[in-house]
């Protein structure tokens, strides 16, 4: 305990220097801005800003880059709530209830609860990293390919719960998502699958391309169906910040979301993507009136947003303690550390305590700054909703196109968002939800990879999924959930849980 306090003291003495405070603020601000712009993600931004950090000392540079990362997570939920475009996999579920709240004139409250939930989750996650960072890495070591496969299966079962309409349609969408995920060059054999000989498909479909097309472009097309009537949003911006009753309703969700997000974030095999919708699924399951979900339930924003932020913080654990990057942004952080002469690995904590504890302290400071930056901005963001469609839509399309181009510098990606936009529009018209498809897409790719790796390791013996305790438990939970959903006796109540209309 005294060690912890001494370490945190060291961390804060590093993070509170004038220069590092400034860099932290700058990182958070830039991160929020690029997070709000649809399509411009943290990877492109950090890669572009890397050269600017060459002149800084490594601690300051990494504090700024980390600020961009969690600032972008934060800003991404703003776009998800206001214009229904998820910037990355983790904000898909925020669109479900967050955007509905915005349509009901409660955008300010949705943004406010997202900010507060995220701050709380960030605080808890920072403490968790500081106190248990090193022992928690043991958890990462328990998870092999078979365990990750089971985790992803459980995730897909959760995905069914996300559906607002018919369960059959949701399952169909999940499967289409899984199919789309298998487009591209096969990891193990080098064969191209479903590319139709088109070379731009050989690396598969990018998540951002799919998300921006299915949500962003499709949403714009759908809105163009009707003449502009947004009276609700127009007339009453309503309260800007959550009331006491809202907070009371959201608090338990924030707590649960924080716990789920923190645990999943520690897994280096990209477990953090599951956080937000595991949280959403649980909130919907235990809610007294599940039919409110998808219609602007505040718990549906508070829980997933907390899980998202907790996960994005705890995903620093595998990076800082093991040197293993759990996702593309963290891989970029590894590069940034290397360029600054620090080789990430298990030795960083002992060899560069300044860097390790300084970054941890700066994460909490960064979360506080995000709250300070974002709460006053809520009013401004909400006012953005009053911008007429004829100005807003071209602007969104332009930012989407620029953003998508900045990721891979491929013109074909821009054309693909148009394609997926039309597909998304068709799906909305036919009553299919795009969210389960996106989750099927994200999980499908991981699931296939882990499944085949486990089977190669076991030389094709499927018993590998039942012999290992963690795998077996996760798979049993998934089966129980599926059976519960399919048993005729429970059919009636299941319909109440899953169906909205």
């Amino acid at each position: 305990m005294t060690d912890l306090l001494a370490n945190l003291g060291l961390g804060f003495s590093v993070a509170l220097s004038l220069q590092n405070l400034g860099l932290c603020f700058l990182g958070c601000l830039v991160g929020t801005l690029i997070g709000v712009l649809p399509g411009v993600g943290p990877i492109a931004t950090i890669a572009m800003l890397l050269p600017i950090t060459f002149g800084l000392d490594p601690v300051g540079a990494l504090i700024m880059l980390a600020g961009i990362y969690y600032g972008a997570q934060y800003g991404g939920s703003t776009t998800a709530i206001l214009v229904n475009i998820p910037g990355e996999a983790t904000s898909v579920v925020t669109t479900l209830d967050g955007h509905q709240m915005a349509r009901q004139g409660r955008a300010g409250i949705a943004l406010g609860i997202a900010a507060m939930g995220s701050f709380f989750a960030g605080t808890v996650a920072t403490l968790l990293i500081a106190a248990l960072g090193a022992p928690l890495t043991g958890l990462a070591m328990v998870f092999g390919p078979a365990e990750y496969f089971a985790l992803m299966v459980m995730g897909l079962v959760f995905a069914v719960v996300l559906a607002r309409g018919s369960v059959l349609k949701a399952v169909a969408m999940i499967l289409v998502g899984v199919l789309l995920a298998s487009v591209g060059t096969d990891l193990e054999t080098g064969q191209e699958r479903m590319t139709f000989g088109l070379s731009f498909l050989s690396d598969g479909v990018d998540f951002s391309v799919l998300a921006m097309g299915l949500f962003g472009v499709a949403e714009i097309l759908r809105n163009l169906d009707q003449t502009e009537t947004r009276d609700v949003v127009r007339q009453q911006i309503g309260r800007l910040l959550p009331s006491r009753a809202d907070l009371k309703q959201a608090a338990p969700s924030v707590l649960r979301g924080t716990a789920i997000g923190s645990i999943l974030g520690i897994l280096p095999g990209n477990g953090a993507v599951l956080g937000p919708f595991a949280s959403y699924a649980i909130e919907k399951r235990i809610a007294r009136d599940p039919s409110r979900f998808g219609r602007g339930a505040i718990e549906g924003v508070a829980g997933p947003e907390s899980a998202n932020n907790a996960g994005s913080q705890t995903s620093f654990i595998p990076l800082l303690t093991l040197g293993i990057p759990p996702n593309a942004v963290m891989a970029l952080m590894v590069g940034a550390m290397t360029i600054h002469g620090i080789i990430p690995g298990p030795g960083v904590m002992t060899k560069n305590p300044n860097l390790f504890w300084g970054m941890i302290a700066s994460m909490w400071i960064g979360n506080l700054m995000l709250l300070i930056i974002n709460l006053p901005l809520v009013g401004l963001w909400v006012r953005l909703l009053k911008v007429p469609y004829r100005l807003m839509f071209p602007a969104i399309l332009m930012f989407c196109s620029i953003g998508i181009y900045s990721i891979n510098s491929l013109p074909t990606d821009v054309m693909l968002i148009a394609f997926f936009g039309l597909l998304g529009y068709g799906l909305i018209k036919l009553g299919f939800e795009p969210a389960p498809m996106l989750l099927g897409f994200v999980l499908g790719r991981l699931m296939e990879e882990y499944l085949r790796r486990s089977l190669t390791l076991s030389r094709g013996d499927p018993m590998v999924f039942f012999e290992r305790p963690v795998t077996a438990v996760l798979l049993v939970i998934s089966v129980v959930m599926l059976v519960a959903a399919l048993t005729p006796a429970l059919r009636k109540s299941r319909d109440e849980v899953f169906t909205e209309a």
Binding site: A47, T185, I324, L457
Partner: protein, 329 residues
């Protein structure tokens, strides 16, 4: 190995300075560069090629007086970025960070060849050589390459080895090891070194071929056992780890190299200016020190030496790729 030794390298530096002096009148006629130069790195930001590229680009900017901007053009194992530079204007404003993958391995494995590594590029200079390393989980009962070979021979098909992906230099290092040692083990491809390291440290997969830079801290911390480096000589950062050749497989040698290439038909004065800038950047003490900390060795060359190097690498890898039977569409 066609690479210059340190002694020859200093001679080369002198030669390069002479070339620079000779090219000065030409660059006085048509000033180059007058705008920022794009350095296409065909791999993701943060990886070892990107790190070398950015370190060199930063110093080259100082030397040339114009920004050398790194652009990551990712896809198809490096081919998308390489093909882009092969087809770019030969004006010296787009250059490529080529590697053993883009200029030797990929062209050998691909059924559809997007470019020719020899005729579609104008070589500028070698930049760095990065050793690969054979690491095992510390629980594996093998303390040396000889013991590992004995273990693999005692139970064929039992063991697996991890690499950063199908057809990568690390995968082929493993295949070369298998064929030279006459052993069998199952290849497990990952999406990059990070996830592979995680499973090897955790013991899911016992053996891995990795870049020395990404495995170095794990070896130092004792969470991986470094059995041998794959270069001809021991790595300066790990003098205690033997080479594969001296530990039991004489003649075994693989390494990852990085080099600068321009589009074909780029005018000679521009190539010379870039070559001189690269050599100057590589002579910078901070670059040398950062590269050394990263277990990479700075190696410069003339354009002609790089051209010969590419041809030699293609000759060397052709039988390995054939034997491994790796074909990518």
């Amino acid at each position: 190995m066609t690479l210059p030794t340190p002694a020859r390298r200093s001679l080369l530096l002198g030669l390069a300075a002479a070339t620079l002096a000779a090219s000065l009148p030409a660059s006085a006629q048509a000033p180059y560069p007058i705008r920022p130069i794009t350095l296409v790195v065909p791999f993701a930001a943060g990886g070892s090629t990107d790190v070398v590229g950015r370190l060199v680009a930063q110093k080259m900017s100082d030397v040339l007086g114009q920004q050398v901007v790194v652009e990551n053009v990712v896809g198809a194992g490096g081919n998308v970025g390489a093909a882009r530079v092969a087809k770019a204007e030969p004006d010296g404003y787009s250059i490529l960070m080529g590697t053993v993958a883009t200029h030797a391995l990929n062209p050998l494995m691909l059924k559809r060849k997007p470019y020719d590594p020899v005729t579609d590029f104008a070589p500028i200079s070698l930049l760095a050589v990065i050793p690969n390393v054979l690491v095992v989980n510390p629980k594996l009962p093998a303390n040396s390459v000889k013991e590992l070979i004995a273990l693999l021979k005692a139970s064929p098909e039992k063991y697996n080895y991890a690499s950063s992906g199908l057809g990568t230099p690390l995968h082929l290092s493993g295949e070369l090891f298998k064929s030279m040692a006459g052993v069998s083990m199952q290849h497990i491809p990952y999406r990059g070194s990070g996830p592979a390291l995680n499973d090897v440290v955790a013991g899911q997969v016992p053996i891995q071929f990795d870049n020395l830079p990404s495995a170095s801290e794990f070896i130092k911390a004792g969470s991986l056992r470094g059995l041998a480096v794959t270069t001809k000589e021991r790595a300066p950062s790990f003098p205690d780890i033997p080479t594969v050749a001296e530990a039991g497989l004489p003649g075994y040698e693989t390494y990852t190299w990085n080099a600068l290439f321009a589009p074909p038909r780029t005018p000679r004065p521009i190539i010379d200016a870039l070559n001189a800038a690269a050599i100057k950047a590589l002579a910078d003490p901070t670059v040398i020190e950062r590269m050394k900390a990263f277990s990479a060795t700075v190696v410069s060359s003339t354009p002609e030496q790089l051209a010969d190097h590419v041809k030699a690498e293609i000759v060397k890898w052709t039988p390995v790729v054939k034997e491994a039977g790796v074909q990518i569409e």
